[in-house]
Structure formats: C-alpha cells, structure tokens
Amino acid sequence: MSGDKDLDQLKKEAVAKAKAAAAAKRKAKEQAESGAKEEVSPAGDDLAKQKADAVAKAKAEAAAKRQAKEEAESGAQEEPPTADDLAKQKAEAVAKAKAAAAAKRKAKEQAESGTSDEAPAAEATGNDADDLAKKKAAAVAKAKAAAAAKRKAMGQSEPEEEASAGDDDLAKKKAEAVAKAKAAAAAKRKAMGQAEPEEEAPAGDDHLAKKKAAAVAKAKAAAAAKRKAMGQAEPEEEASAGDDDLAKKKAAAVAKAKAAAAAKKKASEGGAASGDDEKAKAIAAAKAKAKAAAAAKAKAAGKGAAAADTPEEPKQPSPNQKYLDKYVEIIQKHLGEDVLEDSYINNLSKDVPTLVAKQDSYYKIAEFLKFNESLSFDYLSEIHGTDFETHMEVYAHLYSYKNRQSVALKVKIDRDKPEIESLARLWAGAEWPECEAYDLLGIRFTGHPDLRRIMLGEDWIGHPLRKDYEPYDVEV
C-alpha cells in the first residue's frame, strides 16, 4: 500500500489541517442535514478503532486521505471525506475523554428529546456536536456522541437490531481496551435504554446480556458486516472500509489475549450500568463461556479478515482496471487524447469500467466502441438518462459478447439544452429507451429515427423525471 510511504507526512499534514478540515466538515453538514447524521455514525466506528490502535488509525487515516485526494481529483462531486477529518481531529484530541463524555451526554439528551423522529434528532445532534467542536470540544466527542445518538434514534424504530448493533460496537471497543470514557458511554447508553419509554430498553438489556454471555464471535462478525455496510452508506466508503481492515487485522492479532478480558469487562460494565440481577447472570455467563467466546472470537476475527478482502479490493487496482486502461488507451490512440472527460472503475457497480465522454465526442466514442476490432461492444444492455440538477447525464451500459466484457459509457449534457446524438443508429435497441429518456427527461436525441413520447403521449406537459417537474393539472 502506497499509503504507508507518506504515512508520517500525511499524519503531520493531518494535524496541521485539522481545524480547517473540521470547518469544512461542519459546512458540509450544514448543507446536508441527513447527510450529516450518516457521516457521523461510521466516523464513530473509525474513532473507536483508531483510539485502540494508533498505527491502525494512522494507516486508515492515510488511506482515507489518499482516497479523498483521488476522489477530489477525479472530480466526483463529493464532500470532503469526513472520516479523514475525524481521524485528524482524533490525532489531535485523543486525550479529551471527559469533554467527549460531556458532549455525549448532551447529544444524547437531544436525541432523547428528539424521541422517535429519527431525522431531526440526528440532525440536532449533529448541529449540537458541531457547536461543541466549535467550542474546541474534541471531534472525538462529537463523533461518538453523534454515533451514539444515531444508534439510539435508530434503535427506537428498530429496537432489536440496533441495540445489538450498539452492543457490537461496544464489544469491539471494549475488546480494544478503551477504558473509562467507553465504560461511561456504555453505562450511559444502558441507562438511556432503560429510560426509554419504549420497549427498546429490555431489548437492549437482553441483547447485552445475551451477547456478553455467549455470542462475542457472532457479534464481532455482525459488527464487522454492519460497519462495512454503514461505512458504505457514506460517500467515503474506502476510508471506512480501510479502517475496517486494519481493525480486523489488529483484532486478529490480539483476539485471543483480549477476548476473555473483553467479555468480562463488558459483562461487568453492563452489569454495573444496569444494576440488576442481569449483572450476576451476565458475569457468570461471561466467565463460564469466556473460553468459548475467545475461541469464537478468534474465529470471527479470522473470518472478518477473510471477509475484509472484499472491501480491500477497491484500494488495490480493480481486476477490471486493465480493461479500463485498455479501453482508454485504444480510444485515445484512435480518437485523440481529449475525447474522454473521465474514466474510472465504478466500485459500487461490480467494478464496471466507466468512461465519461465529452458531449461532442460521445457518438464517436460509441461508434468506436462498437466497431473497433478489439473492443467490439456489440450489445447495448441499457441506456437511460438522469437529471442531476447541475447537468443531465446519459448512461449506457454496453457489452461485448466477443470479449465478454462490459463498459459503461456516460456523457454529461447541458441541462437547459439537453441534446445529444442518438445511439439508435449504432444499436437498434437504443431506439425505445431513448424515446423513454426523451419522454421522461426531455433529452433530445438527434439523429433518432422516430423520437416520440413513448410512454406518456405527445400531449403530456413536462418531463416527469426531471427534478423540477411540476404535474400539470388543468383544474388547478
């Protein structure tokens, strides 16, 4: 991993830029209200892990950083990677556990007051956390608080899963030997869980007890999966995934040694917090099954490491990278250097090589993709348009039966004057889908043999899939 090379450098850079990044992040959060809450949640996971292991954190940071840079370069309109920032802030503020606790408390209170309405609660928390950050409270605190609040809020709508998810996180954190702040957090969560009017609390308790007692391994695996999922729910999935890997590797290394302790600690903490008979039960169970748990955990860690191969992929060159390189090379050789606006591997879409054509070279490239001997994309699987508000985009998925390869061809077009050449002359199969795009989005395909409003009819007013579409009603 090339990230290791610039590790120190990046770290320094990270510290230096911490504040600026924090500000940027705040801004981003303000921009997207729901975006804020989901960014925070995985960040909490990252933090947990990073706290546990400095090296891991640094590496994750580096990875995140690099990803972010790449993404910024590739022109993807994504916000500054949050995990990255958090990591930096984290590096700056590891010691501020108490502030964190305070922030947490506050956030939770807000989350609680937000009750079952998840979105406002999360938003409020995010804003509040922002304020805290502004007041120099640690980013750790903010992230954690937000994560907790989020978990909380989600737990309200989904008691079982979320509670268990929270436990998973707990387990992880504990296993990684984070001491007081974490314990407090657990206690807090626990207490809150009980305070909740809904049946979430019992569920949470149940889960805690159960999980602590027996299913550390399962929890681990689930947590990993969960984190992965959540990590991807965020734009900067690579960063989070990277953290995951590191955490897992580390976990694998220390699994056996820590498992028993973790289970015990968890049990005691959970017990202390809940303060009822579950405590004894949990401790007893934990002790009895400590060994089993340790073994299971080791296994889970191994499994996690294995599972981690998948998210690791994006960081390594995708298996389709060579195809992409080939396409780009051939296209540039024959059509010139500047016909492509962009080209990348779309990791979200089964690593499909994606070419973004310039508007004036779109047809040329499509034609070339079809007729070039070594490309011969003879099958058009899909073509459609999307209104991205800043621009329109036409997405075509091509396939070559000869080479058994796919490519996605995209082109961005002007939203005010959406006009692009039709591919129906190349693939007859594009005829109707282009009509559909014309009908629903108003993209005009020039050179189309029969461009008509195929779905709605010629007398329909407006293009429904445009984001600014207002239904026309004669009676209104």
Partner: protein
C-alpha cells in the same frame, strides 16, 4: 380493374392476444401486414418517479408490479443492486431461499407463457394444464411470502420470511411431479402438426439482429447466443449449481418455444440442487441498518429474469431514497424488434410472433 385499399387496423389496447394493454397499429393489405407501429404506455405508472420518493424497502412492492408474472426476479434485482452498492454479505439460508423463490417463479412464469401462447393458437386445454401446475407453485410461493403474485418477499440483506415448516419438502416433491408433467406437455403440443406449422420459420431473426435490438433472455438464446447471466456473470450463488444454458440456432418462434420448455427443466435442476444443499438453519437476514442508505454513487446491475436481462440502475446521493432509479425492463427492449418481424407477415402470424417474444405489459410500460 379492382381497386384495393389498405386497412388500418388497431390491434388493442384491449385485445385478447396482446396480453395486456398493448396497442399495435397495423396497416393491412388483405391479411398481410405492410406496416406495424406499436404504441405502448397504457400501463405506465411512473415506477421510477415514485421510487425517487420512497425508501429502498418501500420500492420492493413496486417492483412486484412491473413484471407481475415473475415478481421474484424483480424483487431480487432491486435488492441486489442495493446490496451491491452497500456490499452486504447475504446469509446462506437467505441466498438459497432467494434462489428457490426465483427459480420457482421462473418455472411459473414460463408455464404461464406456455399456456397462453398455445391459447393464442386456439387450443384451450394446455392453458389449464399449465395453470394447474402453476397453481402449485403459487401455493408454494404463497406459503413462503404470503402472496400469490406480488410477493414483496426479498429485502436488502436477505428475505422477509423464513421457509415455513415442511416447505422445502414440498418443493422437493414438486420437482419430479413437474418433470412428469413436462413430458405430457411435450406430447400434447410440441409435436402437433398445426402448432409446428404455425411456429416453425415464423418470426425468424438472426443472431446479429438479436444483438442489435438488445434482445435478451430466450429471445437471444433462441438464435444461438449462449448467454445467461446466471452462468456468465454469476450473481447470488448461481455458480454453485449445475445447469445448462439452453440455446437453439433457428431463431424462430418454435426455437423460443423449445428454449422456454427446456428452461423449465433447467430451473427444476437448480431447484433440486438448491433443495439438497439447503442449509439446516442460520439467519435469513443479514445485519443491515434499519434505514437502508445506498452509498453515494451509482450502480447498474443486471440479472437473468424470466424474460431476459433485468437491470437496475441506482444513482444515490447517500440518502435513504434513491436519487434516480431505473429498471432495465427486458420486455421493453425485447418488444422493439416486433415491427421488423411483423412486416410482410400474415396477420395470423402476429400472435405467433408477439406471443413468442413473451412480453408482460407491466414491464414494457414500467
């Protein structure tokens, strides 16, 4: 000197053999079609627009209503797209349940096609035989999902319900029964002289045409293109099963008929193997967040539905609703070749050709 005139004939939108609200404006010279213009959109419900305001799980019932004959595969393509974006690992048991549901649904879908296709030729009995078997499948799927047609069964991360007690055994028993019935189907229809006369060399197109017109599924395979996404771009756990990709070289209506009947057998093979390998226990739902949010970005996945390639494109801005959702609906693409096939044909061949393409109007119109 006799003066002749061409007739403009509106077939549909309400017509017995358009299999839904599909309109075809034909120009006839006697009974020979000189021009054909399909008009669609009568069943357009704006699924993609609706989806933009719904959470991912809420979209699933809408996918049921696209290809309502084979709703399981539609369910699957949506959850598969989201899972691909979120990189969720699906529990074993869920994977098997999905495969079973999809393949049973594929058999049901092909049976429905078989029955109605022969019905288009005026033979009523095969329809009822096909429905008898389809009914058993629908009952099985009903036990699984609680619905007979619009299953709403799959979820991001797994399936909604576990298989009820004894369900797997019922599926196991169904396979040999269905095989036995298939033999009867072939005896009743496949060798019938009138049927052969009406399907052989009717609606023929070449491999190049098929690719050019973006045909998929049986419509493509009947021209000899060995292409089945279950085999060539394995998704789910299809790589664990041993089955053949059925192809024919003729490219006519009869080739498509044969392909579909044989695909029932291949699906039965998959069902049989899936039943054998079915895990005893385990979760049927992965741990997924309650509010599913696909990461920011876009994804296009495609799977092999009963009628061809079903694709699902999601552009997400990280919210719990998709920013843009688009389904590649195989019937919509497959239907494009119809005018080309119809011109110069007798009006009676219209039903052989249209029927053999196997469209579902809910899917054509989206």
């Amino acid at each position: 000197m006799i003066r002749t005139e061409e007739i403009l004939l509106n077939v549909g939108p309400q017509h017995p053999s358009t299999h839904g609200v599909f309109r075809l404006v034909l120009t006839l010279d006697g009974e020979v079609i000189t021009d054909a213009k399909p008009v669609i959109g009568y069943l357009h419900r704006g699924t993609e627009k609706i989806a933009e305001n719904l959470q991912y799980t809420q979209i699933i019932p809408y996918t049921d209503r696209m290809d309502y004959v084979s709703a399981m595969t539609n369910n699957y393509v949506l959850v598969h797209a989201v899972e691909t974006m979120m990189n969720i690992e699906i529990p074993e048991r869920a994977e098997y349940l999905r495969i079973l549901a999809m393949e049973l649904n594929r058999v049901a879908s092909h049976l429905l096609w078989w029955g109605t296709y022969i019905l288009d030729f005026g033979a009523t009995s095969p329809l009822l035989y096909a429905f008898r078997e389809r009914e058993m499948i629908l009952n099985l799927l009903n036990e699984l999902s609680g619905a007979r047609l619009t299953f709403n069964y799959m979820r991001v991360g797994g399936v909604k319900w576990d298989a009820p007690e004894g369900w797997i055994e019922k599926v196991r028993d169904f396979v040999p029964y269905m095989r036995k019935m298939l033999v009867g189907y072939n005896e009743l229809v496949s060798g019938n002289e009138i049927f052969l006369n009406r399907t052989k060399n009717i609606g023929t197109y070449t491999k190049e045409d098929a690719l050019n017109y973006s045909l998929s599924g049986v419509n493509l395979r009947s021209t000899g293109v060995k292409w089945d996404l279950r085999k060539d771009e394995p998704y789910s756990i299809y790589d664990r099963f041993d089955f053949n990709v059925v192809t024919r070289d003729a490219g006519d209506a009869f080739a498509r008929y044969e392909c579909r009947l044989e695909e029932i057998e291949e699906s039965l093979k998959i069902i049989e193997q899936a039943v054998e390998q079915f895990p005893q226990d385990g979760p049927f739902m992965a741990k997924v967040p309650k509010i599913i949010k696909a990461p920011k970005g876009e994804a296009f996945v495609r799977i092999e539905g009963s009628r061809g390639e079903i694709g699902c494109y999601i552009a997400s801005d990280g919210k719990k609703e998709p920013y843009r959702m688009k389904f590649r609906r195989p019937s919509f693409y497959n239907l494009q070749i119809l005018p080309k096939l119809l011109i110069g044909e007798n009006i009676s061949n219209l039903i052989s050709i249209l029927g053999a393409i196997d469209i579902v109007l809910g899917e054509v119109d989206g």
